[in-house]
């Protein structure tokens, strides 16, 4: 496809810590078009954050990244740091869960945005200032003239996240990675920020990777969803396909475990026993097998391939759920 913006092939990340090898990402592949919103969903330790930090070259020295990730044909894996610094921010920007920790508490909002603008382009101070005002309005901060001179502590959590988005957009990135960007926010603020991200995507054509533990966010806002478990993609499909025809027992278990308004009070939730596997010693078969209600002896011994079984719908399971069938 010619309009592919980001192509990730067999991405692997391994951490070597005090003689222990932690296999965090184990062969992740996906494609992202310009203006597309892809949700990567999974629990803690599923590799969703590590895989996206690998794209930004933001992993500690103990990490070994292999495979390939190309943005507009430029290979990011193994790129030397000085070159990476030029891409980071300019091509790919990232916003994080905690905007308070991402902002400098001793600098005014305006100065932080202007700094980001001038870090990537030779712009006069006045022009940068005008652009910063423009960005503040773009992320729908009311009264930008005043907010420009305020400090992060004077803003609410939602406003700080808007400022982070403004900084991320300072250099017109092609790809924005939102790593649990709304997790720390209240539900009404989350809806506002998600609306804003959706609007930016259609107005500026920015592709967005939405990293979240929340299947509801994926269902409501993303075009495509990747579900990760133990460092691997286990299901990947357009959002509507995924929610209409869920194949992976793991995805199904995640969806069923979410408390829902439709359920009666005190209804028991379907239970998935056990815990996620130890990433230092992954089993030879399917990593979800010990917790899976549909597991067969085959699942224990051989790993199901992650393959496109239906048009546009990928999964890795020997014994997938049929249409409408409970786990």
């Amino acid at each position: 496809m010619s309009d592919t913006l980001l192509q990730v092939e067999d991405l692997r990340v391994r951490f070597d810590q005090r003689g222990r090898r932690v296999y965090a990402v184990n062969g992740l592949s996906y494609r992202l078009r310009a203006g597309q919103m892809l949700a990567i969903v999974g629990e803690s330790g599923s590799g969703k954050t590590v895989s996206s930090r690998a794209l930004m070259g933001l992993l500690p020295p103990s990490a070994t990244v292999t495979g390939s990730a190309r943005i507009d044909g430029v290979e990011l894996v193994g790129m030397p740091e000085p070159e990476m610094r030029r891409h980071r921010g300019a091509d790919i920007a990232m916003i994080f869960q905690d905007p308070t920790r991402s902002l400098n508490p001793t600098m005014r909002i305006g100065a932080q945005i202007t700094e980001a603008i001038r870090a990537h382009a030779r712009v006069e101070k006045d022009a940068a200032r005008a652009r910063a005002m423009e960005l503040l309005s773009l992320v729908r901060i009311s009264d930008p003239q005043r907010r420009f001179y305020e400090y992060p502590h004077q803003l609410s959590g939602g406003m700080r996240q808007r400022v982070m988005i403004a900084i991320a957009l300072a250099s017109d990135p092609k790809l924005l990675i939102a790593d649990e960007a709304t997790t720390a926010l209240d539900v009404t603020t989350q809806a506002q920020i998600m609306d804003l991200l959706g609007e930016l995507r259609s107005r500026l054509g920015t592709a967005i990777i939405l990293i979240s533990h929340d299947l509801g966010l994926a269902a409501s806002y993303a075009d495509d969803v990747i579900v990760m478990y133990a460092g691997r993609a286990v299901e990947y499909a357009p959002t509507r396909t995924l929610f209409a025809k869920m194949r992976m027992p793991y995805t199904r278990a995640l969806l069923d475990a979410i408390p829902r308004l439709e359920r009666q009070s005190h209804a028991r939730l379907p239970i998935t026993p056990g815990q996620p596997p130890d990433l230092t010693a992954l089993p030879p078969g399917c990593a979800f097998e010990p917790r899976c209600a549909r597991a067969t002896p085959q699942c224990r011994t051989s790993r199901p391939p992650f393959a496109q079984h239906e048009v546009g719908h990928w999964w890795a399971c020997w014994n997938p759920c049929k249409d409408g069938e409970p786990v």
Partner: protein, 348 residues
């Protein structure tokens, strides 16, 4: 039978701004009243800064509320001190959000679960050990495997089970749970929620269950109270409140939940509360929600709406409550329905 009766509870924090910045009084809990029957679960839902945690802690007298009354099992807790407070609190326990922070990392699990028994002088060493094994079994941890471990050797979900075992060790009547599953992954969260349900039915516990997650609160509660900026704005039976929310704030909260059905429009849209929540340092006059409320009128700025019963057991603090939701059952509860067309979006 009323187990807990809270009347006109007020708690305020005085903050002094650092380095001469402006300080003030944070109105964390402002005149809150509610009741909890024995065996009942009351969910308290609200956003960050709504005062829900402060309310929970004030019930336990930690901190002591500034004014108001907390009657637990017929005993007034406000003003009690020392040994008498300790005895009254035996039946009143708490589970916190972060299980690692609530367990001493150097202690073994056995000793952690035994601590409340030792503190209240229950039985002798032998009977306490038996009780610890019983409790660990009850919360789904094998005592032979986990008893000698320390908290850092356990996962978050397992630590929360230990915290729950500690809370139920003294056979309490009421357990106050402050965001007890918010730090857990969804599959583990479901396990712990089911444990709460199991203990409720087996031990006849009551819960005061605090969370920011509306769906989660619905899951565990008989009744739900919605809190906004230190005040309760709606209290009602869980089913009725979610089927037909009457306070505009509750409607906004429900409309903000992302839908799990991708064929529906995403949450939000124009119906959701715009703007920022006001500061608890300087809450608006009259109704504290009026600055974000699409239904606000002049009266709302002048007169604080008090909780009043609009249907049996369903109270709302609003001068102009939302009309009863006439949508057929099931259509209203997913939170994605638009507001009724008759609503006037007049802003003050």
């Amino acid at each position: 039978m009323t187990l807990l009766e809270v009347r006109n509870l007020v708690h305020e924090f005085t903050v002094r701004g650092a380095g001469g910045l402006k300080g003030g009084v944070v109105h964390a809990v402002s005149d809150v009243s509610f009741e909890l029957a024995a065996g009942e679960t009351l969910g308290i839902v609200g956003e960050t800064g709504s005062g829900k945690s402060t309310l929970a802690r004030c019930v336990l007298q930690a901190p002591r509320p500034k004014s108001g009354s907390v009657r637990f099992q017929g005993t007034e807790l406000v003003g009690l001190r020392g040994r008498r407070l300790k005895q009254a609190r035996r039946q009143l326990q708490m589970v916190f959000q972060d299980p690692y922070a609530s367990l001493n990392p150097r202690w073994r699990i056995d000793d952690l679960v035994e601590e409340p028994l030792v503190g209240y002088g229950v039985g002798n060493a032998g009977s306490r050990r038996r009780r610890v094994r019983e409790l660990l079994d009850l919360v789904g941890l094998d005592p032979a495997v986990y008893g000698r471990r320390r908290p850092y050797e356990l996962s978050g979900g397992q630590c929360q089970r230990v915290a729950i075992a500690r809370a139920i060790a003294l056979d309490p009547a009421l357990v106050v749970c402050d965001e007890p599953v918010s730090s857990l992954d969804v599959l583990i969260q479901a396990q712990v929620l089911n444990l709460f349900e199991q203990l409720r039915t087996e031990l006849g516990l009551s819960y005061l269950f605090i969370s920011h997650d509306l769906a989660l609160v619905k899951q565990v509660s008989d009744r739900v109270a919605v809190m906004h900026l230190g005040q309760l704005c709606e209290v009602g039976p869980a089913e009725a409140l979610y089927r037909s929310p009457r306070h505009p704030y509750t409607v906004d909260l429900l409309a903000s939940i992302p839908s799990l059905d991708p064929t529906r429009p995403p949450a939000g849209g124009r119906a959701v509360a715009s703007g920022e929540p006001p500061s608890p340092l300087n809450p608006p006059s009259g109704c504290r929600f009026r600055t974000r409320c699409p239904r606000a009128q002049d009266q709302c700025a002048v007169e604080r709406p008090l909780l009043r019963e609009i249907e049996p057991g369903h109270q709302v603090a609003c001068h102009f409550p939302e009309p009863v939701n006439a949508a057929p059952d099931g259509a209203a509860v997913d939170g994605t329905q638009p507001r009724p067309a008759t609503v006037h979006y007049a802003r003050p």
